[in-house]
């Protein structure tokens, strides 16, 4: 399948249900071939955004563009996107072959080309030899692969994925995560991936768009989102962090917050580091790291994740300890 992709764009898209808005003035540009994840807790508007893009839901305001064309007025079948659903949505009355062939038949692809294209798509997702089975006779992982094959078989320029790994167990999820990355690299399709799982978002995406309560909080590369969260919500939602009042780390008097990742703290801080002194409240040995909490003088508690090291013994529970990190590792947040 040749490289075939299109840019897409949300422009000030709002979706209201009565007086509540599921999505509020959402704007996002996705480049052709880019893998962008919409990440947020349930009710954040990420699925609404995807449904508006797919054509299942109509935006109250704003417009969606695929390949530069406004698509708001087009029904789903005329948007030429591929989609993988949360519960796979395989047609139970059709064989694997007929499921994968469905988008081709609906697009009136000549019969003699269908067999080859279905074979190629199933090969791409590493699923062969099960073409006559019904979805009911497949395992969860196999169903997911069929759903993927069906989404890519007609070479759509845009691929949408709606929480499509969350129905699988952890091991399969990690396996298919790599698989989806690989398929994206092979096909070069533009991918919009929706998930509430931050590790999926961070590990798979070129860029992550974090949503909360219908609003876009931040959109950036995974490492930038992790290192430079723009708000308390993002800092807290992506990875683990300590949120302290800014007063605890600087002389600033204004109402602000400081985010410190547990793994940035280290024992025996240097003279230029910000120091935190407190009593070790709890401590757990996790192999590569030792994690725990420090009760600070101001009453806050600070999570830490220290690399295990023979030269620097970790303080015991009840002992006083000083941890620190370079000022640059602390992110100041206004909201």
């Amino acid at each position: 399948m040749p490289t075939h992709n299109a840019p897409l764009s949300f422009q000030a898209v709002t979706k209201r249900y009565g007086s509540t808005s599921a999505l509020e003035s959402f704007s996002l540009d996705v480049a052709a071939g880019e893998f962008v994840t919409l990440l947020g807790p349930s009710g954040s508007g990420k699925t609404t955004a995807l449904n508006i893009l797919a054509g299942f839901t109509e935006a109250s305001e704003g417009e969606v563009y695929i390949g530069g064309r406004p698509v708001g007025a087009l029904p789903p079948e005329r948007r030429n996107v591929g989609m993988v659903f949360q519960n796979f949505a395989l047609f139970p009355h059709m064989s694997v072959f007929d499921n994968v062939a469905f988008p081709l038949r609906m697009r009136k692809v000549p019969r003699r080309e269908i067999g080859a294209k279905v074979g190629k798509a199933l090969e791409t997702v590493h699923l062969t030899g099960l073409t006559d089975r019904k979805p009911g006779a497949l395992s969860g992982g196999q169903r997911q692969r069929v759903a993927l094959a069906r989404a890519i078989v007609a070479s759509p320029p845009v691929l949408l994925m709606d929480e499509c790994l969350s129905a699988l167990d952890l091991k399969l999820r990690e396996e298919l995560r790599d698989e989806i990355r690989r398929i994206h690299a092979t096909l070069g399709t533009t991918v919009v991936f929706v998930t509430h799982d931050q590790s999926e978002a961070l590990s798979m995406s070129d860029r992550v768009a974090v949503l909360n309560e219908g609003r876009l909080c931040q959109v950036d590369r995974p490492d930038s989102i992790y290192d430079r969260p723009a708000s308390r919500f993002v800092a807290d939602f992506i990875g683990r962090t300590n949120i302290l009042p800014a007063k605890a780390v600087t002389d600033s008097a204004k109402e602000a917050w400081a985010s410190i990742r547990p793994e940035r703290l280290r024992p025996e801080p240097g003279p230029d580091d910000i120091h935190f002194e407190g009593v070790v409240e709890e401590r757990a040995f996790l192999g590569a790291t030792i994690e725990g909490r420090l009760r600070l003088g101001g009453g806050q508690s600070l999570r830490f994740a220290l690399p295990r090291s023979a030269s620097v013994p970790c303080p015991e529970v009840g002992q006083t300890a000083v941890l620190g990190c370079p000022p640059g590792d602390i992110v100041m947040l206004d909201e």
Partner: protein, 276 residues
Amino acid sequence: MSPGQKWTVLPALALALVMFAVPVALIFREALFDPAFTLTHFERFFGRPVFQSVFRNTLMVATIVATACLLIGYPMALFIVTRPPRWRPLLLFLVLVPLWMSILVRTYAWMVVLGREGMLNHALLTLGLIETPLQMLYTSGAVYVAMVQILLPIMVITCYSAMTEIDMGLVRAARVMGAGPVRAFRHVFLPLSLEGALTGWAVIFILSLGFFIVPALVGGRRDALIGNMIVNQVAQTNWGFAAAMAIVLLAATIILLALLRLLASKFLHSPRQEST
């Protein structure tokens, strides 16, 4: 099931035996012994063209009524199932209300509507669409109309419950894969709801076979169904012959339904085939 639990099914089994198996056995005895073993009742049935013609008519009426119910009831169920969830209970309620009225009452109501001096003729005369009253009562048409009206709610409910089992996400999936609303319906929704629709058809068919009040009240002389023949024979205390006709009807029903099932299992997707 553990050996101890086996005993818990006994009351149900006993009930089924007394309520169903014993009466059927009694009917067989009535038809085959008089008092010694005899096939005379069956010979009489198959030897007289009039009985066979009534029998054929019964099968035809049941087929037409079941098919008409399917053609009207399926779209009705589809309409209800595609309404917003808060409207559905009310719509279902409206469909169900007639079911709570006695068949006798509803049949008499049709006599009032279709009679020579009835509401329909009166309305047509007043509107000037006809000049003399139409003969609607005591015709085959009246039998069909009344039977369809009486049985339709059962079809709607059967189709509706089958349709609510269908994941509407599948229809949306079909749409995003390039199928317009009509093709999404034809390739996804229709095949998945067809088994429920056929079940409804079979239920209506079976219920129609036993009708006798409706043809007796609104039908003509030639609209008698096998139910009417059985009632006549019982009235004349010809228990043996009535039982023989009941057995022929039962046998025909079982054969037809077995054929239907065979066809359905060949061509239809059944949700029960899956074990997930």
